[in-house]
Amino acid sequence: MHVDQAAHRLGLVPGLTLADARARVPELWIEDDDPPADSRLHAHLAQWCDRYTPLVGADGADGFLLDITGCAHLFGGEERLCADVTGRLRGFGFHARSALAGTPESARALARFSPGGIVTEGGEAEAVRPLPVAALGIAPDPVRALARAGLKTIADLADRPRAPLAARFGADLLDRLEGVLGEKIHPISPRRPLVEKQVEQLFPEPIGRVEDMLAALRDLAGRLAILMEQDGEGGRLFEAAFFRADGKVRRIAVSTARPLRDPHLVARLFSERIESLADPLDPGFGFDSIRLAALVRQVRRVAQAGLDGREAASEKLAELVEHLAARLGEERIVRFAAQDSHIPERTACLCRAQTPPPDASAWTCSAAGEPPLQPLRLFEPPQPVEALAEVPDGAPMRFRWRRVTYEIAAAEGPERIAPEWWRREEKPLTRDYFRVEDRDGRRFWLYREGLFGDEVEHPRWFLHGLFA
């Protein structure tokens, strides 16, 4: 368990078990640990630190080491830089503390174990003396062992002969000690920048014609395809940024239904999108550069085409969906997806066509040789009808729908479907469905709403669908 400051003030400390903490403060707010989110945030912040220096290193899961050699003057000196870093981080809602020193170890020790601040050159040894030995950044075990030996501060170590220390705690301890005391400098290891898939083309003369822009996009898409091919990826979301000569930037994005690389297809998607824009691209004095990036990428499996051409058909469908989506907007191209429910109107829903095709087996099918239990066509909402039937659960003998009376010749049922009790509905009622055929051979799907006697006194009848 970790705690925030408010919890700390209540006397809760990291490492307590949840049950213990709850026993003390029952109204505790608890969030689950989410290490991936933490590391994403950490990586994001590290990237943000690039604004100060290109040399940013991670320090544990909750700190950063910045090598600001030669950068401080850009921010008006060391003090202003430190104030800027902590000020902005606090603005984001973090508790931040910073220290600036000649070696990364001493800066780290001071930031974590003292109020922080700036150490004048050569003052490291003096500044770190009162800090506890834990400030060396060593494991808990040697910290405890040192404490048992009565060596609790860095000063206790600094003033003693170093050979016996090395014999007991290893050369690493001395190494760190020297680092903290400013006697030895270890360069920080900067994190690896995120690899992005983006290509850019600058134009000697600003361009303004759409054809030129599309041609440029095609070239860019070709270069991007090579980048993605190296990693076996395809793009799911592309973004083109058009930089206008006067500094304005226009960004246009297209998404695809499958990982895509083919430059022609990518360019065509953009051309369709651009043509259908409600507010067309305004070149003004022309664009002086275009940048194309694949923002979302996926591994693209290279599949051999089957002989029956079935994959080709689904490729075609995907292509069609992409084009329609690029032209009409993604949200307007939808398809049915099966939903798992006993309630007929809830067995299907509409979802975006670009989402991966749903599993066809999720649809209810009657067994081979059995007639379908539900019609393909359903009324939404079901049509009220008047019906005559035997109580409590007999099949209807005749019913009246839209002023026409149908005499029923054959019926099967009931298929009883109880309401989904976990939904908050006004008055959930059980339905008894019947498949019926009238004297002319028309087939209907009717239901009685409510169990006679148990749920309602006079059940109502509905026509829910027609069998083809």
Binding site: G15, I30, A134, Q339, R416
Partner: protein, 1070 residues
């Protein structure tokens, strides 16, 4: 037309059935069915629960209708689900042999699978279908089952039915026509069933929730995994006839099947093993021979007349009831333990008999207290005798394996324990199924008890009106008490003469080498089967070690029975409340009770053990008893009005306890004598209160008892208190016979503590973990009793704590390596065997004992190198320089001596830090109490110490600081009790509930706490501090730990509780 439902599951079809067996049966009777067949999935674990109400009802019906049999029949069987894709088959035994077949069949499946699994194949059934009546339950598409149907029809000619159900799935009638067709072709009759999963349609939501729990789904996304409707409830004859109007013959078949089944669980007559009886003798002769032989051995000068009379009476009773083999079986087990030197003692209704005393099963001398055999002797209780035997907990497994060996696994099995849903597990599983956050489970119930007070929910940030929460809570309440799975009982053995697996299926337990049966102790009780409880008791281990130490160090050979009785010094010690470490009477409540009760003789100890229990406390019987005992109140016996019976009818029941009911059997006798319960009703009452699930039915008993007693002229208040007490016994029933056996151990442990405190402390420490107190308190108590305690040392200690020659010939206690956290037994062994005359220095210790550096570091840290002239700091500094891993012998011999090195001048370790480190490494310190270092500072603040608190007058206002030893919150939750300790003693603090709400965090979190409050003295000399305000002073301990301070907001790791643990964690309620 008569109709029976023959395919019904109960909640023992785990996470499938949504009604209990009794509910199913009750509903079937209500609906007018004339029979029900209970068949759970691959188990018969639930059938006894369904059987008991039917049997009771049948007895009642016969009584009320001049012996006519009730027109209702219960079939018990199992639904066999196969692992090879074959359709389910419901199997009922046609007769006793059929039951044996079914049990064997399930045993085969159980032993094939892991714990809780039954792996059955269709072939298994084909091979064992004789004597079974089978119903094949066709799958969704019935035609798939046709080959299996004809296979089975051949294997079980004339005993197979095809089950058809009408669940209103739309094409029911077409399906029924298909089934009829199949049935005709295979010449198997069609049977109308409803394949019921619950009693009434209202249980459908619960069944959906169960399905979700089983499948790990959420209701709103489970979809068609759930049933489409609520049709799988029991249906009455008319409704069934309407559903099966196309096949009326299927309804008739229910009657045929019902008539074919002639088996009832009441046929399971118990047969005792014959093993211990030599050929040519009857068990009764053998028992009598042994008894008299041993009696003469025990009383060479002649058997005391009282004992002799009792033996004759008891033996006659045993002969009459044919219980000789039972006593012989127990005797046999006890003899085995005796031969192996394993201490044991029996308890239970039959255990405190003269026969058991003579046979060595118990040590409670019939001469010493009045006989308790009466409970067992009563003929009306037609139940087998009950003897539990406790063994040393470290050696019980030997006894268990002996039993398996002696009787064979096919004849011996451990009883099951049904693990049921408890509030916490219920709300957790329900919450998950309803898609609520995991958090709810821990928050709603969190650390609270068995109920859900609304204000707890509100406090936890949930509105109890919130329908989602409300619904989750409702479901959880329904689910509570549902069985989740079977587990093995701690030690209840079932032994049979014939094959056990023909009486009940056997399954594998999670533990290796254990098998257990499918019934739990209630089931076994209900069927009248014999059970031998082989239990583990920590105190027996401790006493065994103490007796061994007495022998080696004092030259006195004692056994549980030879400890001198009626020793006034022992009782004086107990009257002072000086009972830390003593069996049973060492808790705070017991220690408070001792000076009030002032035990003077053995029977007082029996009462002492029984009185501090929920029963007498809830029944408000404690104070009346104490008043009468001290003479402040006259002993009177409540009496009925003269026309209803003799005024002294309760004297016999309550005579021994001054007119106040204290024991479970007294409460039961009260129900019979005063409220005129029949013995059958009293038994039902006893069973009802033992089972958690029956909370509902207890109300009817309540009315019956209170009204019954009031009607007969008893005071209503007295009647209500009696019943409250019975309810209190519910979970912790404490019969006199158990109390008597325990009291004997109380006496024995007190005697050793009183006369050999060093031996007692040593044995107690070597038996840890057990009992109520941590090693620190045991050591402190020993030192207060004048025992010299010596610290663990690498040249003197063994793994266990040991006794050494102390000053003046008194024994001194040497702490062993086991007291050092993290030290391993094999290290200790190597150290001791290679120590020789002692190690001269650490280097030679490392080399000769071949210990890893880690071991030496721990020893150094624990300050166990003083014999080398090194304190922990110096020792640790040297150890850290040694090579990390022990060198092989030759390499070590050749290794260069470690060279000289410059002086490091480590600072000397202050005493306070030594003490703190002692606590961190050994959880106790012999050097000083941590509080003594804070005393100066606290004096300055005007805080007093524990000794001063005990000396203050009643009502005095004091401020006290102390280390928290124990936090307790008794059942009713009115108060929290804390025990504080400092260098001068301990103080008990009472925090009333309202104050606790206010200072909750301080009370729960503090290691060191400051309490302001008033002193409360009881007339017997007990002192409490009633808190008005508490302050968390734990941070003072941190300052003790290191004189150098850690800057505020420093590294978080520094505040990790492991690093700041100075005082071992207190014992807390949760």
């Amino acid at each position: 037309m008569s109709c029976a439902e023959l395919v019904a599951a109960t909640n023992f079809s785990f996470l499938r059935g949504a009604s209990s067996g009794p509910d199913m049966v009750l509903r079937a009777v209500e609906l007018g069915l004339n029979g029900i067949g209970i068949a759970d999935r691959n188990t018969v674990a639930g059938v006894v629960r369904a059987f008991v109400p039917v049997r009771d009802a049948q007895v009642r019906y016969a009584r009320e209708n001049n012996g006519e049999a009730m027109p209702f029949k219960l079939l018990v069987g199992a639904r066999l689900a196969f692992c090879d894709g074959a359709p389910d088959v419901v199997a009922y035994p046609a007769d006793r042999d059929g039951w044996g077949q079914l049990c064997k069949l399930l045993t085969v499946g159980n032993l094939r699978g892991k714990k809780g699994e039954c792996v059955l194949r269709f072939d298994d059934l084909l091979a064992r279908a004789q004597g079974l009546l089978l119903v094949l339950m066709p799958p969704h598409n019935p035609r798939e089952a046709e080959p299996k149907l004809s296979e089975l029809a051949e294997a079980a000619p004339g005993a197979l039915w095809l089950g058809g159900a009408m669940h209103r799935h739309g094409s029911d009638r077409r399906r029924l026509a298909v089934l009829r067709d199949m049935a005709r072709r295979s010449r198997v009759p069609l049977l109308a069933t409803n394949d019921a999963l619950y009693a009434t349609p209202e249980q459908r939501p619960l069944q959906d929730v169960l399905t979700c729990i089983r499948e790990g789904l959420r209701v709103d996304s489970a979809g068609r995994v759930l049933e489409a409707n609520a049709e799988r409830h029991l249906k009455g004859p008319a409704e069934m006839a309407r559903l099966f109007r196309d096949a009326p013959e299927a309804i008739e078949e229910t009657q045929h099947l019902l008539a074919r089944c002639e088996f009832s669980l009441s046929e399971l007559k118990y047969d005792y093993p014959e093993e211990p009886v030599p050929p040519g003798k009857t068990p009764q002769q053998h028992l009598e021979d042994i008894t008299w032989r041993r009696a003469h051995l025990r009383y060479p000068g002649g058997i005391p007349p009282k004992t002799e009379r009792l033996l004759r009476e008891e033996l006659a009773f045993i002969a009459d009831s044919d219980y000789a083999r039972y006593f012989l079986t127990i005797h046999d087990i006890v003899r085995f333990a005796d031969d192996r030197g394993i201490l044991c003692q029996g308890r239970g209704s039959a255990a405190n008999s003269a026969v058991c005393f003579i046979l060595g099963i118990t040590n409670v001398d019939p001469e010493e207290i009045d006989l308790l055999f009466a409970r067992f002797m009563s003929k009306e209780r037609d139940e087998p005798p009950d003897i539990d035997v406790d063994f040393e907990h470290e050696r019980r497994e030997e006894v268990i394996q002996h039993i398996y060996q002696r009787y064979g696994r096919h004849r011996a099995g451990i009883a099951a324990t049904v693990i049921s849903y408890r509030p916490r597990s219920a709300i957790r599983d329900v919450g998950k199924a309803l898609g609520l956050t995991e958090d709810l489970a821990s928050t709603v119930w969190g650390s609270w008890g068995d109920n859900l007070p609304d204000n707890q929910v509100r406090q936890a940030g949930f509105l109890e009106q919130n329908p989602e929460i409300r619904r989750a809570v409702d479901f959880a309440n329904q689910l509570m008490g549902f069985p989740r799975h079977l587990s093995q009982h701690v030690g209840g053995f079932i032994l049979t003469r014939g094959r056990l697996d023909e009486t009940v299926p056997i399954g594998n337990a999670a533990m290796a080498d254990r098998t257990f049966i499918e019934w739990d102790r209630d089931d076994i009780d209900a069927l009248g089967l014999l059970k031998v409880d082989v239990l583990a008791l920590g105190m027996l281990t401790c006493l065994r070690k103490a007796l061994d130490l007495l022998k080696t160090h004092c030259g006195k050979e004692h056994s549980l029975s030879s400890i001198p009785r009626r020793d006034a010094a022992v009782y004086d010690m107990l009257c002072r409340g000086d009972s830390i470490g003593v069996f049973q009477v060492e808790s705070r409540a017991q220690i408070n009770m001792l000076p009030r009760l002032k035990p003077k003789e053995f029977y007082d100890l029996v009462i002492q053990v029984a009185i501090v229990r929920p029963g007498p406390i809830q029944g408000d019987m404690v104070h009346p008893y104490l008043r009468r005992r001290s003479g402040a109140e006259n002993v009177t016996y409540p009496a009925p009005s003269p026309e209803h019976g003799p005024a002294d009818e309760l004297v016999q029941v309550l005579g021994k306890t001054k007119g106040v009911p204290l024991f479970q059997e007294q409460a039961m006798r009260l129900a019979i004598v005063a409220a005129k319960f029949t013995s059958e009703e009293a038994n039902q009452l006893r069973r009802a209160m033992a089972t958690f699930r029956h909370v509902g039915t207890i109300q009817t008993f309540r009315d019956k008892m209170v009204e019954g007693m009031t009607r007969r002229g008893y005071d209503r208040g007295f009647a209500e208190r009696c019943f409250a007490q019975i309810e209190g016994f519910g979970s912790y029933g404490f019969p006199e016979s158990h109390a008597a056996s325990f009291a004997h151990l109380v006496y024995v442990s007190s005697w050793i503590k009183c006369h050999h405190p060093a031996v007692f402390a040593c044995a107690l420490l070597n038996s840890q973990p057990m009992g109520f107190y941590a090693p620190a308190q045991i050591v402190r108590d020993a030192r207060e009793h004048g025992v010299e305690v010596r610290a663990a040392d690498l040249n003197a200690s063994h793994w266990d704590n040991t006794l050494e020659e102390g000053e003046g010939g008194v024994l001194a206690l040497r702490l062993g390596f086991r007291q050092i956290d993290g030290f391993r037994e094999d290290w200790a062994e190597r150290l001791v065997t290679r120590r020789g005359l002692g190690f001269p220095d650490l280097e030679s210790c490392a080399r000769r004992a071949g210990l890893p550096r880690r071991a030496l570091e721990i020893l150094a840290d624990a300050d166990a190198c003083r014999s080398l002239g090194l304190d922990r700091r110096e020792a640790a500094w040297i150890v850290r320089r040694l090579p990390g891993e022990p060198l092989p012998l030759f390499a070590a011999a050749d290794a260069a001596e470690l060279g000289e090195e410059p002086q490091v001048n480590l600072p000397a370790m202050p005493l306070a830090e030594h003490v703190v480190t002692d606590y961190q490494t050994t959880r106790l310190s012999l050097k000083a109490h941590p509080m003594s270092f804070l005393r100066g500072r606290y004096r300055g603040e005007g805080l007093c110490d524990c000794r001063e608190v005990s000396a203050r007058r009643d009502g005095a206002w004091v401020r006290l600081a102390g280390v928290v030893l124990v936090r307790q919150r008794p059942g009713n939750g009115n108060a929290v009790f804390m025990t504080l300790e400092d260098e001068t003693g301990i103080t008990n603090v009472v925090i009333w509930a309202r104050l606790f709400q206010q200072f909750r965090r301080e009370v729960m979190a503090s290691r060191l706490i400051e309490v302001h409050g008033g002193v409360q003295r009881s007339p017997e000399g007990g002192v409490h501090l009633v808190a008005r305000r508490v302050i968390d002073r734990s941070s003072d301990l941190h300052h003790l730990a290191d004189s150098g301070s850690i800057s505020e907001g420093g590294d978080r790791a520094a505040h990790h509780p492991r690093n700041v643990r100075i005082i071992p964690k207190s014992r807390d309620f949760h």
